[in-house]
Amino acid sequence: MSVIDARFAGGQGGFTLDTAFNVPAKGVTALFGPSGCGKTTVLRCIAGLNRMKEGFLSVEGEVWQQGRRFIPPHKRPIGYVFQEASLFPHLSVTGNLRFGLHRTKNETPRILFDDVVALLGLSRLLDRPASVLSGGERQRVAIGRALLSQPRLLLMDEPLSALDRFSKDDILPYLERLHSSLSIPVLYVSHDISEVERLADHLVLMESGRVKAAGPLEDLLADPALPLAGMPEAAVALNARMEGYDPAWGLSTLAVHGATLLVPANLGPVGSAHRLRILSSDVSLSRSAPQGSTIINSLAVRILSAEPLGEHQMNVLVRLGPDGAGARLLARITRKSWMDLAFQPGETVYAQIKGVALVDRSL
């Protein structure tokens, strides 16, 4: 049973939490929502740092909380990365990294010291005191320290939010590498959708102490009923596989569910996996196959539904492929165009995609 099943209900200082979700214990699951929606509290409940009056938690079939049963945090096989790195100032970087490792003596470590040092690029920091590191370095050490405690579940509470843009860009590639080289499930709290689009496979959407939706990232991003689709920078995420590279034009062909897309870049060997991000404002619809257009990605799609967005726009949900069996895409068009062209759900039309962003992520 490779799932995390969590239910927490209770109040704390005027704030009520009432959440229940069930996510696969695999890949990265993002807990996403505005500040103060309770996502950090949920993460702390999973770690055992908070105890809600009513709660149930089982991780991969092992019950950590149920009724009066409550496993204290130090007996849970978790790693926790806090918002601020919170390194121990009385220890060196090595001392910090080994703190958790020392305390797992009776287990054979699956995650080795040297591997973590290499993965997070820590080798030249090892002998320094924790207090002289930069923000990004500190957070990398904190991540390494959590990994070395041999967690079966890694919990990360907005690990990038206390960092400036530069340090963030410094750490993101490490997080992506982590995702690809270690098979530890990660619960990742964030209020930054671009981080979520880049890192997450699953999404738990939270709002004022409740879970609004939970499911695969692609599904939730493309669900017009959820507030995500109404955001100005609303986008869908598509998992893609490299099909080939045409050096004459410098274009890569990528297969997504139900279609192929051309991306101006060489994306490495055939078969490599990538994630693409398509903004709903970069997708337009036309009734016939466009001719004489500079847009290279023009695909047959089937209209599933359309929702008005504000006064003058429509948010149209389509699926790739003439039969509508492929991945979902959102198109943001004007209400006038929608009326003038008399589009109907169920129709097959053409989507022109102005921009395909590559979410830098090597799986």
């Binding site: 945090p73 978790i78 121990f88 100032p89 703190f99 207090s131």
Partner: protein
């Protein structure tokens, strides 16, 4: 005179050790508990700061007299006018000066380091010794030095419960008083000047050590 200095240092050292053993858990409890009555306990611990030492000494004398309940429990042996009695008196008298800095140090670093340790599989006891105590080390230094210095300097309590028995209870502050009473000014001068130099050295060393500790780790906030 060597005996006086030796006895004084012995009393201060033993008292400081007892103070750290008794004061540390007390300071930890005061820093962490959510019990509503913790400030009552804190006030009792702090009493010797405001209480005249003679009042404290008087009550200790009552408790330690040979026919008190305590002495009966100890097999009819009164602790008054004994070295052990002095240690107990000193510990009670100096307790606030040890507990307060350690409590402040425990409170200063907050919950976060303890939570981090818990998520790294350290049990609460393990966390206490490997995280809380090292992080609070400046507080321990201040507490130990203040406790030691206060024990050396105390007069009122010792006078009440210790008297002036050579080799047993005749400590420095009492000896200076006795020398002045018997007009032996040169000896009073010698001991007083020694105390002055000692006190200055202690305060200076403590300040330097605290500064050094603070510099070595630029604080929890940055790390």
């Amino acid at each position: 005179m060597g005996e006086i200095v030796w006895l004084t240092l012995k009393l201060a050292t033993i008292s400081t050790l007892v103070l750290l053993v008794v004061g540390t858990p007390l300071a930890w409890w005061l820093a962490r508990t959510k019990a509503w009555w913790k400030e009552i306990v804190a006030a009792i611990v702090a009493l010797p700061i405001v209480l005249p030492p003679t009042v404290l000494g008087f009550y200790l004398l009552v408790v330690m007299s040979p026919d008190s309940l305590l002495s009966t429990l100890l097999g009819g042996r009164g602790l008054a006018f004994s070295f052990e009695g002095l240690v107990i008196g000193s510990v009670i008298y100096s307790l606030p000066f040890v507990v307060q800095p350690i409590r402040n140090a425990f409170e200063a670093f907050g919950e976060r380091p303890l939570e981090v340790a818990a998520t790294l599989r350290a049990s609460p006891l393990d966390t206490f010794f490997t995280v809380a105590v090292p992080l609070a080390s400046p507080g321990f230094l201040t507490g130990a030095v203040l406790g030691f210095a206060h024990t050396i300097g105390e007069f009122g309590v010792v006078l009440m419960i210790g008297g002036s028995i050579p080799g047993e209870t005749k400590v420095l502050s009492i000896a200076i008083f006795d020398y002045v009473e018997s007009l032996q000014w040169d000896k009073a001068h010698l001991l007083s000047a020694g105390m002055l130099v000692f006190s200055f050295a202690v305060i200076l060393l403590m300040m330097l050590a605290e500064k050094g500790l603070a510099r070595r780790r630029a604080g929890w906030g940055r790390a």
